[in-house]
């Protein structure tokens, strides 16, 4: 049969045109051709235009001295440092903004999401109004509002606001207590991280013992308590906290100054993204079947504990994947902070472009940086996602 039909099929154009396999290949070839031609056209023009401007493509400019100063930076930087160092400063500023943003967004978003299930009418309405209001107003407008209308309306340094002798607010920024040296601050962060990791390990150990033997595990409980006390002692007394001091006639010394630009950008990002996170959390909790909730309640578990131990862990499966894209949105939206002159990655990149006239190279650097950050978030979130998925056999 097969050989027969294979042998005597004379080539005919009509048959070929009706053959789907032919069209599948032809369509791909045409697509590739179109894309290649388009790229050739674009890149040809680009080369011609760049050589006309006298800037052949290349990244060697990155080692030239930048020559501009940067208002605030997490790493040491002087104007005579090279461009790559300036870009690194921008990256470090973006990273501090994004990490703080993700932290506060998660807290506020989850709180607002859970609040929309509250039995308290006022809290419920507050959460719904917040989401409905904030999601429908552009982020950039909100950012300007925070920067100009809210933090800009704070008093001048001469008559700054003082809270509890620990915080100072004026229209140049917010001053908070901080460990006296950077090394001590890092020590504090590290001890908190180690403490949390050890605590989780001990807690899981205890759970395992209690599941297997239905008793015991007291030693682990005391160990967790002791650990908490030790970490608390280190954080409270070991870090040489320095509270900001108001200076006569305006201004503040000591402590950590969070510039008005940083605080405004952080507030806008957190308030905007949290509204979306709240909706994700709400949808996630709604996706847990009502029977789970009712079963927990009929076992006599109080409402708060039932939410914490029964409903929320199951909702996490639905919540984590869209949270990933919200965190990525926050990372990308952090570039808007440049509109209020916060020297983050995008802002430094624009300055670099303005000084060197190399749009393509700067764009490549910018794109690679944000792609890398987004990729990192995705990898971390996938790890988390794996941890909360259903474990079936």
């Amino acid at each position: 049969m097969v050989s027969q039909s294979d042998q005597k099929t004379p080539f005919s154009l009509k048959a070929l045109l009706r053959d789907e396999r032919f069209w599948k290949i032809a369509f791909q070839v045409i697509t590739v051709l179109v894309v290649v031609l388009l790229f050739a056209f674009f890149i040809g023009n680009l080369n011609r235009n760049l050589t006309q401007q006298g800037n052949a493509f290349g990244f060697s400019f990155l080692v030239n001295p930048a020559g501009f100063s940067i208002g605030e930076s997490a790493v040491q930087y002087q104007p005579q440092d090279p461009y790559w160092k300036a870009l690194l400063v921008g990256l470090s500023n973006t990273v501090t903004l994004v990490i703080a943003g993700i932290l506060f967004t998660t807290l506020l978003g989850v709180a607002a999401g859970i609040a929309s299930f509250s039995q308290n009418w006022l809290l419920y309405k507050l959460s719904r109004v917040y989401v409905g209001l904030v999601r429908n107003i552009p982020l950039l407008l909100q950012l300007f509002f925070w920067y100009f209308a809210i933090y800009g309306a704070l008093p001048r340094p001469e008559d700054q606001i003082e809270l509890l002798n620990l915080f100072y607010l004026n229209n140049r920024g917010v001053y908070v207590p901080w460990p006296s040296t950077a090394a001590l601050a890092l020590t504090g962060l590290a001890s908190i991280a180690i403490g949390i990791a050890l605590g989780l390990f001990l807690w899981n150990w205890r759970t395992k013992i209690r599941v297997e033997t239905a008793t015991g595990g007291d030693a682990q409980l005391y160990a967790v308590g002791g650990l908490a006390v030790i970490v608390l002692l280190i954080v409270c007394f070991g870090l040489n906290w320095q509270a900001p001091q108001g200076v006569e006639g305006g201004g503040v010394t000591g402590g950590l100054r969070l510039s008005r630009e940083y605080v405004a950008a952080l507030s806008a990002l957190v308030f905007y993204t949290s509204a979306f996170v709240a909706e994700i959390v709400r949808a996630g909790i709604q996706s847990v079947s009502k029977g789970q909730w009712e079963a927990a309640r009929s076992l006599g578990i109080p409402a708060g504990t039932a939410m914490q131990l029964v409903v929320f862990p199951q909702a996490m499966r639905v919540i984590i994947p869209p949270m990933n894209s919200e965190y990525m949105n926050l990372t990308k939206n952090s570039s808007l902070a440049f509109a209020v002159a916060f020297p983050e990655m995008y802002s430094i990149a624009t300055t670099t472009y303005n000084q060197t006239g190399r749009p393509v190279e700067v764009f490549v650097v910018l794109m690679a940086t944000y792609l890398a950050m987004c990729l990192l978030i995705t990898v971390l979130m996938n790890q988390l996602n794996r941890a909360v998925q259903f474990k079936e056999r």
């Binding site: 308290n120 950039l140 509002f145 792609l371």
Partner: protein, 405 residues
């Protein structure tokens, strides 16, 4: 707490449900000590904040900045002697809106029910009393009349000819071209440079053009990513993933700089067009993901059934798969359109005078120095109204298309 003993269980009358504000407050605000504390704390914070806001709004705020610059906010620096074109455009839009309303409501018993009449009355009163719109109320009130008249015509015509809805969609499509022609001029009209486009008009033009461009592009990308042809799939995936990894500001700014570099001299589009292209290219990647989610929700059996009926791949897509997939994806697609609308604010950063950009230049005027809160609140209300009505509209369309019983 009520106590029920077993023998009173069957004979006791049903518990009396208490009504009235006190019972309601007890149930919803003060059910236990935790709720009561929460209510008191939130109430105090809200009350204090509301009081501060009201005292600010009525004693410290200088709202005069809004009515004095309302022309700028709406149309930017559009030349005064050509203003009639904007009004003609608005009249056309009002006619179409009225016709659509009349045709959609043709099966209702009365078109101008009491609620609708009250609504029209409120709108008219608002136009006359609200200081920014008061000077133009001589034109705005006839616009309301046009909407009402067109609605009546649409209802009569819709009853006579049921298939009129299609023509209304075509009318909206044509009105977009008409609007561009009226605003921009050229053929037969004195042309207005895009530098003079601005305010809400530019925001709306950018948003509508962006949506019109990004929808087909996003559709193609989504289909490409789901395609069985490897080359098409790779290209579409690469495009979507790369664009989704870059912030929009970078995309817009570099669009302003790089699109001219990619094209030969003499073929360079102007600033507004470049910004719209960048906006559409950016949104298309996100839209593609929304459409892809819709496509994935269609069971394979639909395609197989169409194939076994002898339909070709393009026909299957257009007649079977896409109508179902797009219906599922409507909420996500409209969400993407809303964020595109919000993203037009970024045009302010690349130097275009759209609504936010014109707001910033008003604030740069020394006369209105420091009136940030007033201007930004006003702009926020405008954006909120548009975005909120879009999401309301999406919910209505969802209900209309819902074929589940």
């Amino acid at each position: 707490m009520t106590t029920t003993t077993p023998d009173s269980f069957s004979s006791a009358p049903p518990e009396i449900v208490k009504k009235g504000p006190v019972a309601w407050a007890r149930k919803n605000l003060f059910s236990d000590w935790f709720n009561s504390t929460l209510t008191v704390v939130i109430g105090l914070v809200l009350g204090l904040g509301g009081y501060r806001l009201l005292t600010w709004a009525f004693s410290q705020a200088e709202w005069i900045v809004i009515p004095n610059n309302i022309g700028l906010f709406m149309t930017g620096t559009y030349p005064d002697e050509l203003y009639w074109r904007i009004w003609v455009m608005l009249a056309v839009m009002c006619t179409l809106a009225g016709l659509s309303w009349g045709i959609l409501a043709r099966n209702l018993p009365t078109l101008f029910s009491r609620n609708v009449l009250i609504g029209i009355g409120v709108v008219c009163a608002f136009f006359v009393l609200f200081p920014p719109t008061r000077p133009s109320s001589k034109i705005l009130l006839p616009m309301v009349a046009i909407v009402a008249a067109a609605a009546w015509v649409g209802r009569v015509a819709g009853k006579a000819k049921p298939g009129l809805g299609k023509w209304i969609s075509l009318g909206w499509g044509l009105s977009y071209l008409l609007a561009i022609w009226l605003v921009g001029g050229s053929i037969g009209l004195e042309s207005v440079s895009t530098n003079d486009w601005g305010g809400l008009v530019l925001t709306l033009i950018a948003a509508v053009s962006g949506i019109a461009l990004c929808f087909p592009l996003g559709l193609i990308m989504a289909l490409g990513r789901r395609s069985s042809l490897p080359v098409v799939k790779w290209l579409a995936t690469a495009y979507i993933e790369v664009v989704r990894g870059v912030p929009l500001v970078a995309f817009l700014f570099m669009g302003q700089v790089m699109i001219p570099l990619f094209l030969p001299e003499g073929a360079r589009p102007d600033r507004v067009l470049r910004a719209i292209i960048a906006l559409a290219l950016f949104s298309a990647a996100y839209l593609a993901e929304n459409v892809r989610a819709g496509l994935q929700a269609i069971p394979r059996g639909q395609q197989e059934a169409a194939m076994s009926m002898g339909m070709s791949t393009p026909l299957t897509l257009v007649l079977i798969i896409l109508p179902q997939a797009l219906k599922i994806a409507i909420p996500a697609i409209v969400g993407q359109f809303i964020s595109l609308f919000q993203d037009t604010t970024l045009l302010a950063i690349v130097g275009l005078a759209e609504l936010l950009g014109i707001g910033r230049s008003v604030l740069a005027n020394p006369t209105y120095l420091g009136r940030y809160a007033e201007v930004y609140l006003f702009l926020g209300v405008i954006y909120w109204i548009f975005c909120y009505s879009m999401s309301l509209g999406s919910r209505k369309v969802e209900e209309m298309l819902n074929t589940d019983l």
